[in-house]
Amino acid sequence: MTFNSIEYFTFLPLIYILFYVVVDRYKWLALSLFSVYFYLTLKYPHLLLLLFIVTTCTYLAGKALATVTSCKKKKALFWCAILVNAGVLVSAKYLNFITTNVNILFNTISTSFHLPEINVLVSIGVSYYVFQAISYLVDVYLGEEEPERHFGYFALYMGFFPKLLQGPIERAGDLLPQLKAGYEFNYDNMRSGLFMFAWGLFKKVVVADRLSLFVNTVYNDVHSYEGLPLVLATYMYAIQIYMDFSGYTDMALGTARLFNINLTQNFNSPYLATSVADFWRRWHISFSRWILDYIFKPLQMQFRDMKNWGTALALLTTFLVSGIWHGASWGFVVWGLLHGIYLAASVFYKPVQKKIYGKPGLEKSRIRKVWQTVFTFNLVCFAWIFFRANSMSDAIYVASHLLSGIGRIKAFLFMHGSMELLVIIFSLLVVFLQLKGRQTAIGRNFYGQPAWLRWMVYCSLTVTILLLNVDNNNAFIYFQF
């Protein structure tokens, strides 16, 4: 069951009404049962088993960590629990990748020894809840969080259906108190939740899925294109993945808000970032906070004697892990490494940058900001090539043919008819106006506006979704992670 399916549209109002009528004491049970059902509708029963293993192990370890007094035992217990969680993640996601590459290595050194091939397991959502479990364990281990005593609430924290498949990765301190709070019907929450859900649906089915028509045509047959069509397809992919993922997040946040729960906002206009570091403060925020807190900071502490080199090394390692987290393929590894290199380079470039912009007095100028935004966007887009391409050889082809003239640009732009292009421009304009509108008085107090204005927006959004949605059964891109 995905957020953009009729199945979900049918179940959501019913689970909402069920949640509403159940007494406060058992509301967690209603949400838990539906979360289990939601996960099982994906038709991969092993996913539920993995979730159960991670949840039970983390819950028990969390409780034990609070009772054990010996530092040595505590540390051993903590690492055991981390290993179990990491083991689940590796076995579900990376075993096939590891065995394939080890066998290639054995082949090149002409050894007859081969590891048995392992089938790829579907691992939808596993990366997210494993990271959430690890963050919980670290917080409990460091004494920043009290362990949860109630298994039901803890299981709901791990598997709450709006965030189960693609995050956001929630901290226990943020989500658990909300799950435990008594429910009171809140009309404003319901209204804003539904609107947020519809807005996310628009971003997904109208904008992202339409852009995917162009992107897929080029990226599934890269050797037929060169020059400008490759550049445009890459830019389109950058927007597609943003609309796809932020659309999903809006739908998750909107759904959760119906139950009076506020999840972490995952995006903040990432393509307006003025540096790659700034980009990571605005893109997939819950994930970047996680890798910053649980990977980068400990590594930086380890390498602190190496000063700038230590920071650069910590950044490189952190983003390498980030790339691997996204998937078991070399494309993701290179994508992560590229971001690591951008950030590591910025550690050395920052002092020089001040001098460069300081001399001509450009330090606070608008031109500088625009230039930095454009430059950052292009760096990020270059990395997306490795993220999107079907293979490393395709990615290398795209990267090396970006500047080979204008290519068959007309054929590329009109491959799906001129109407599709117009709809894309119109939709992007709507998204841009929404982003800009949020900063105006009307945008900040949208629900305080006259009813006719609000209803005009609601109706336009509904009609646009009904008429302009692309019916191509596209799954969300971040599903695979």
């Binding site: 049918t10 109002p13 509708t41």
Partner: protein, 358 residues
């Protein structure tokens, strides 16, 4: 102030009413989608006529055809027949004609027994003939003929199942699991129930006229010739059929033929019905060249001593004649009576040429 208050109260009541209607509607979709026996009452359907399966996916008026659906009555018993037929929806199809078995009986004069296929695509007799004969405890020394048919797009996948002796055991637990967690009928019921269908159809037509967009199940369409093509056909046409893949399929069919002969004294006649896209791809694309999959398989199977009806070559030959009628419906994946008759003629030729029944 009073008026403002009354408007506000009306608005609140309207919202409450809308919410109640939404809950009732969702419950209706859930029940209708989950319980077929209830859902069927709320789906717009005509038993005697159909509009083509591809039309039913997209509901675009430009492609609407009214096709008569004949009722099929099984008259023969297996023990009285020399020829058995087993196939998918092409053999079951009774659009503007009788089903394949009855039409073949009329034309050939032989008594034909059609093995009814389950509706489940990859767990039926069509995919596992050996399992079927084992299942009914088939014991006979009489020499018989089995005409086994498959549509091109499923031929590779099916051939992998042909030699399975047992059906993929559907346990009670699996059936229950499917009932609970498989919600694919909900989407079908949502789109086709008496409340939504007219609205859905209107939106689909508006989208098609404005933007040319059409249901995902339709891979390509031709406006000038009013013809729809199934996405699975297009995907199969793009699939690389390497020698390894073709040889594996040929090996599976050969093994099936040998088992049928040795175990049940049944001779196999194998038929692959071309996908509509394989025959009429020129309606929607200029640069597609058919990969010759069916003739290639037919040639290899024939060299292994198996009787094959290469209907693809026959259809293409017929198409090149002036005044040729359509072999497939524009709005349906299946063949027209013309396409069916050509197949019957070819089957009779194979039966006679090989003197399989003598």
């Amino acid at each position: 102030m009073e008026m403002y208050n009354s408007v506000k109260i009306t608005m609140v009541n309207c919202k409450k009413l809308a919410f109640v209607v939404l809950i009732i509607f969702c419950s209706f979709v859930l029940i209708g989608g989950k319980k077929r026996s209830i859902g069927i009452w709320f789906i717009l359907k005509n038993d005697n006529f159909t509009n083509g399966d591809l039309y039913n996916f997209c509901e675009i008026d430009d492609y609407k055809e009214v096709i008569k659906c004949n009722k099929i009555e099984a008259t023969n018993k297996l023990e009285n027949c020399n020829i058995l037929t087993l196939g998918d929806s092409f053999f079951a199809s009774s659009l503007d004609s009788d089903n394949f078995a009855n039409e073949l009986q009329k034309k050939s004069g032989h008594r034909i027994y059609n093995i009814d296929s389950d509706t489940d695509l990859f767990s039926s007799q069509v995919d596992m003939p050996i399992a079927y004969f084992d299942g009914i405890n088939y014991r006979s020394n009489k020499r018989r003929l089995l005409i086994l048919e498959t549509v091109e797009r499923y031929s590779l996948k099916r051939s992998e199942l042909y030699n399975l002796v047992k059906r993929g055991g559907t346990t009670k637990r699996m059936v229950l699991g499917n009932k609970l967690f498989d919600n694919s009928d909900i989407e079908h019921f949502f789109k086709n129930n008496i409340v939504v269908k007219p609205v859905y159809k209107y939106i689909n037509n508006a989208r098609y006229r404005l933007f040319g967009t059409i249901d995902h199940a339709i891979g390509k369409y031709s406006r000038s010739k009013a013809m729809l093509f199934f996405r699975e056909d297009i995907e199969f046409s793009n699939k690389a059929k390497t020698d390894k893949v073709v040889n594996a399929m040929v090996a599976n069919v050969t093994r099936l033929s040998n088992t049928l002969k040795c175990k049940y004294n049944i001779d196999l006649v194998y038929v692959i019905i071309p996908d509509k896209f394989s025959i009429y791809n020129d309606y929607v694309t200029d640069n597609y060249k058919y990969d010759n999959f069916i003739p290639a398989v037919a040639k290899k199977l024939t060299s292994n001593g198996i009787s094959v009806v290469d209907i693809y070559s026959k259809y293409m030959e017929y198409r090149s004649k002036p005044g040729a009628k359509l072999l497939y419906y524009g709005s349906d994946t299946h063949f027209t009576p013309t396409g069916k008759q050509l197949l019957i003629e070819e089957c009779i030729k194979v039966i006679e040429q090989k003197q399989l029944l003598n």
